[in-house]
Symmetry: C2
C-alpha cells in the first residue's frame, strides 16, 4: 500500500556524514538529493560531468566539473577534502574511447580491467571495487533519502484491469531476463507481444519508437521497467517521473509498471496527477509478493 502522498513527497535525510561526495550524472534526481541535503544541513561536495550533469545544481555548492575520464583528478580532489563517503546519482552516458580522454589513472584502470567486452554491470562493479580499494565507501541514495524509492502500490487513481495482468506478468519476466543478461531494464508490451526492448537507447527512445508497432483496436501498450536482478543498488536505480508519463501519454502507452523498493519514483504527486489526467495507470509491484491482489 502506498504511504500517504504527503510523506512520500517530503524529503528528509536519514543518514549524515561529515562531507558527502555526490557523483552526479544527468536528470533531475541529483537535484532532489541535493535539496534533501540542503534542508538537513548535510555538507556536500559535488562532482559533475561536462555535458551530462545539469550545471544548475553546482550553484552555491562546493563542486568540480570534469570529464568521466578524469579519475585521477577526481580522486585527488576528494582526498584533499578528506571525503570518504560517496553517492552515485543520476544517469551517466558512457563516452566512446575518443570522448573519454582518459587521464593516467583512468587509463591504468581500463588497462587493468580491460575495456572491451564489458557490460554496464561489470564496469560498475570494477569502478566500485577500485574506489573501495582506495578507501572510499559507496552508499546507495536510499541510505539518505528513502522517499525517492517507490513503495508498493498504485500511484494515481487508476489500477491495472484484469486483462492487463498477463501483459504485466510477461513484461516483468522479459524485463528481468534482459536485466540478468545486462542488456536493459524496460519492455513495451501489448496483447502478449513484446513491441520493443530497451538496450542502449534509453527508456524515452524505446517509448517513442514503439508507437509505430502498436496495434489499434485494443488498449494501449504497457511499459514495464524493472531493476536488473544482479544490479548494484548503490549505483543506479531505474527511475520514472513526470517526463516518463508525458512520453507515455504522447505515444499510446496506457500503463506503467515499476518495481517497488528498487526504482526511483520522482515527484510522486505530480506523476499521479499527470497519469490521472491522461488515464494512465502507474503501479509499483513488490517482486517478493507479486500477485493480482494489489
Amino acid at each position: 500500500m502506498p504511504a500517504p502522498e504527503k510523506s512520500r513527497e517530503k524529503s528528509s535525510l536519514k543518514k549524515t556524514i561529515p562531507t558527502l561526495g555526490i557523483i552526479a550524472g544527468g536528470g533531475i534526481v541529483p537535484q532532489l538529493l541535493l535539496h534533501a541535503c540542503d534542508k538537513a544541513g548535510q555538507d556536500v561536495f559535488v562532482i559533475a560531468f561536462e555535458g551530462q550533469t545539469d550545471p544548475e545544481i553546482l550553484k552555491n555548492r562546493p563542486s568540480m566539473l570534469t570529464r568521466i575520464g578524469a579519475a585521477g583528478q577526481i580522486i585527488r580532489t576528494l582526498r584533499s577534502r578528506d571525503i570518504k563517503d560517496l553517492v552515485f546519482i543520476g544517469s551517466v552516458r558512457r563516452p566512446g574511447l575518443v570522448g573519454l580522454k582518459p587521464d593516467l589513472r583512468t587509463a591504468q584502470f581500463f588497462t587493468r580491467v580491460g575495456l572491451r567486452a564489458m557490460g554496464d554491470d561489470t564496469l560498475l562493479k570494477a569502478v566500485r571495487h577500485e574506489l573501495e580499494k582506495e578507501g572510499f565507501t559507496i552508499h546507495g541514495v536510499q541510505e539518505f533519502v528513502d522517499d525517492l524509492v517507490a513503495v508498493a502500490g498504485q500511484v494515481g487513481r487508476l489500477a491495472p484491469k484484469k486483462q492487463d495482468w498477463p501483459d504485466i506478468e510477461r513484461g516483468l519476466a522479459v524485463a528481468q531476463t534482459l536485466g540478468q543478461l545486462d542488456v536493459g531494464q524496460s519492455v513495451i508490451i501489448q496483447d502478449g507481444i513484446v513491441l520493443g526492448v530497451e538496450a542502449a537507447e534509453g527508456t524515452d527512445e524505446l517509448i517513442k519508437r514503439c508507437r509505430l508497432y502498436q496495434r489499434h483496436g485494443s488498449r494501449g501498450a504497457l511499459l514495464v521497467k524493472t531493476c536488473k536482478p544482479q544490479q548494484d543498488r548503490d549505483f543506479d536505480l531505474p527511475s520514472i517521473g513526470v517526463e516518463t508519463v508525458r512520453m507515455c501519454a504522447e505515444n499510446g502507452v496506457s500503463g506503467i509498471v515499476i518495481q517497488a523498493g528498487r526504482s526511483l519514483l520522482i515527484n510522486p504527486q505530480d506523476v499521479a496527477s499527470l497519469a490521472d489526467h491522461h488515464k494512465i495507470f502507474v503501479i509499483a509491484l513488490d517482486p517478493e509478493s507479486r500477485g493480482h491482489d494489489q
Copy 2:
C-alpha cells in the same frame, strides 16, 4: 565448411507433390522458391496477401490474392483444388484487429485460441494445429530447396578476428535467450555492450537505430541473428540477403553472424561479394559444433 559457391547458388527441387500450396508473405524468398518450382515443373498454387506479398510473383501462376483474415475463403479454395500440402514462406506483418477484417472462420479461430496475450510462436503453433486438423500437411521450405538454407562456414573472404569472438558468443547467448522468450531474433553488439535488441521492429530498423549508439574508436558493431530455439522451422526461418549487407554497411556494422542450418541465406554469391566490397564478415555458425575454429 561452405559448399562450393556454385552448388549453393543453384536451386533444385528435392521433393515433388501434386500441387504445392504456397502461402507467400513479403520479401524475395517466395520468388526463390517459385523459381525452383518452375524449373522443376512443380505445380503450385500461390496464396498472396494484400499489401504484403510482391504481386509480381502472381504473374502467370494460379493464385489468389486475399487478406490474412480470410481463413475460410483460403481453406475453401485450397480444398476445391485438392491441395493438401502447404509451405509458408516470406515474412508476414501481423495486422491489427481492425486491419485483420476476420471472416467467420478466422473469427472462430481467434475466439477459440484467444487473441490476447499471444506471442508469435503461440499463434503460429495454433495456426499449424488448425490446418493439420483440417487435413493439410505443412512443409518447411528446406524440404524442397536446401540451397536456401545457410551452411556452416564463412560466406565471403573475411573471417571474424580473435577479438570479435567474445561479442559473437555474447550476441548468440542474448539472441537465443530472447528467442526463447519469443521476443525477437537479432542483436547488435559492440565491445560487450548490447546496443539494441530486435522485437517488433524487424532487423533493418534495428540496424538503423543502433547506428546512434555505436562508439567510435573501435571496430563496428556486430549483427547476430539466430533462430528462436523453439521456433517451428517449417514456418519461418530468419533470413539475410544483399539488403542486410547493404544496411549493415550504411550503419557501421562490420560483421554478420547467422545460424547454420536454421537461417535462409539469400543469393549467397551476391552477399559474399557485397560483404567483401564493404569489408564485412558474414559467417554461419553451427549451434551444435560452435567454437573458435571456424
